[in-house]
Point group: C2
Chain length 343, copies 2
């Protein structure tokens, strides 16, 4: 398989080799793309990226709604969303596997998404799964050794396995289940309403930063916040600021520079519309649950594992809560080894 | 003691008897009122209310930032914020105790607070404690049998006990500690930023409703939300709505009709500026911690109890999380009995 040679020349950026073993490109899905929740898109473009040895088994890595095709081994390490977990000698070892990813449909990357000011149709995790199917068809990948997905990416992995079980051998699903938890939905629905208020009042960027700040305070744990932000309030420009406030503000601003409000609305909603039928998923699955995860509680992962045909539950503890799938490299070594080597 | 006779006639509403044993009134604090965080107020008015037998020991009951002087036994039960816990035969028995409360300084009630469009100075829990001191002076109450405070009211109780230990015999502090937890601060700071964005863009009421929706999703527990809001999304006016979204929207709208955005900003900030010195509090204290409380974690209450001179910790479990202090009447009977009868 030679992904570079196969990628067609499109008006987007072409498939081209990157430093080391990386290559990336875009391709256009021909014809209409029918969406799960209704409506169709035309001329869907998909931005993808791959790293790892050319003939190694392909593992698709998918992250949260703010992740991108850039999994690891980017020129600027900050541009990688999974560099603690994927890379040479990491749990997802790029010397043994070819790691594929793509920008989500409806997001802020190179894949089709809402233009500024545009409302995009509702996107399902089944739609993302279909994008992945079209992508591996395009790249000539007969079957994925695995899909390793965290958070939203885990939901997409489940959707893919339900629909296209012959195209993937294993799932590694981290901090994700077959349906969202209503408390997470509550927090995300407030985030979307903040962004809508901002768009309607001409202050979309500020609102997106604020929504991201709220999201950040659901990804981690009280224990971590306690350890990092115990300081006293400081008077600044006429009002008191607290250490945690400064942190959330900085993280939110940074996010708002790199993401479109309309794309955030689309992918955030996609999480809350996610529902797959676990009883129809037969692909062997390693499910990772974090005891401290406020968004995806352990009991929900246990419930899903009980509904899946062939699943193993890995419970871990982490001060990073939901974000453990990005951080707990050490604890994930065994999970990846068990899932990827049992082929 | 006759509160009705002692309450002076002011340009506010006068002290007057209400149905049953209730009476209420306003009084003006003479001269300047110096605020803990700097600045002074003039002509501070205090709106108060009392229910229970005229010569019974007085217990001050204080709730969260959306509570008011109306603790229980109001004509419309919905106007009472603590009716599960205070009333005839309840844990705080209005046949045995006279229950006093007041509207918080800086809030939306009859006590002085920000006018629409006005920024009010920062208010400390020590300031609320001073308001209570002035109030009991005014009413001729030498010493309170207890202050029973939940959430923000518990913080005010601690501030009062630190400053005026000779004026209160017992504290019952529910879901509150000597300092706020940074994760709670994170959630509240986002709420305040939502309201500020709304004020600045002329959509303050909507923004306040949204801030309240966020607050609601931190008061309860994932378990409760799971039990109540498991339904599917429904298409409504062109976009999907989820059951929990409808609920939060309704609760937020209701709140925004009854509260001023500027008052919310003031009292929400007051929580995050709260810091008292537990080591200087000698008043015997019953502290109630709820294991499922996301805003005031059990470990924080344990820490405070260890710092207090004379405290007993009551741990309870509740699906209502932080709101357990409003709901768990049965579990609070023993706590109130132990604290109020040990005098």
């Amino acid at each position: 398989m030679n992904a570079i040679a196969q990628a067609p020349v499109t008006p987007g950026f072409e498939a081209y080799p990157l430093p080391g073993s990386a290559c990336e490109g875009t391709f256009d899905i021909p014809g209409e793309f029918a969406l799960h929740h209704g409506g169709t898109l035309t001329a869907v473009r998909v931005g993808w990226r791959m790293v790892g040895p050319e003939h190694a088994p392909v593992v698709c890595a998918l992250g949260g709604i703010s992740a991108s095709r850039r999994v690891c081994l980017t020129e600027k390490p900050r541009e990688s969303w999974w560099q603690e977990v994927a890379g040479p000698g990491r749990p997802l070892d790029t010397e043994r596997f070819r790691v594929l990813s793509f920008d989500f449909l409806g997001g802020s990357g190179e894949t089709s998404g809402p233009a500024p000011g545009e409302t995009f149709p509702s996107v399902s995790t089944y739609d993302q799964a279909e994008v992945l199917l079209r992508l591996i068809d395009h790249l000539g990948v007969r079957s994925l050794r695995a899909i390793a997905g965290g958070s939203y990416g885990g939901m997409v992995a489940l959707a893919f396995a339900e629909r296209y079980p012959e195209r993937v051998a294993r799932l590694i699903v981290l901090c994700a289940t077959d349906r969202p938890h209503p408390l997470g939905t509550a927090w995300r629905s407030v985030q979307r309403d903040i962004v809508r208020l901002g768009i309607e009042s001409g202050r979309a960027r500020e609102a997106l930063a604020l929504a991201r700040a709220l999201a950040m305070s659901t990804y981690r744990t009280g224990e971590e916040f306690q350890a990092r932000f115990e300081g006293l309030p400081v008077l600044d420009e006429g009002r008191f600021r607290l250490p945690v406030e400064r942190y959330l503000h900085a993280r939110g601003e940074d996010y708002a520079l790199r993401n479109r409000p309309e794309a955030f609305l689309c992918l955030s909603e996609s999480i809350d519309l996610h529902r797959v039928d676990a009883a129809r998923i037969c692909v062997p699955t390693a499910a990772v649950a974090v005891r401290e995860d406020m968004l995806v509680p352990l009991t929900d992962v246990r419930g899903m594992v009980a509904r899946l045909h062939s699943a193993r539950l890995h419970e871990i503890s982490s001060i990073y809560g939901h974000d453990a799938f990005l951080k707990e490299s050490q604890q994930l070594h065994g999970v990846f080894a068990a899932a990827l080597d049992s082929h």
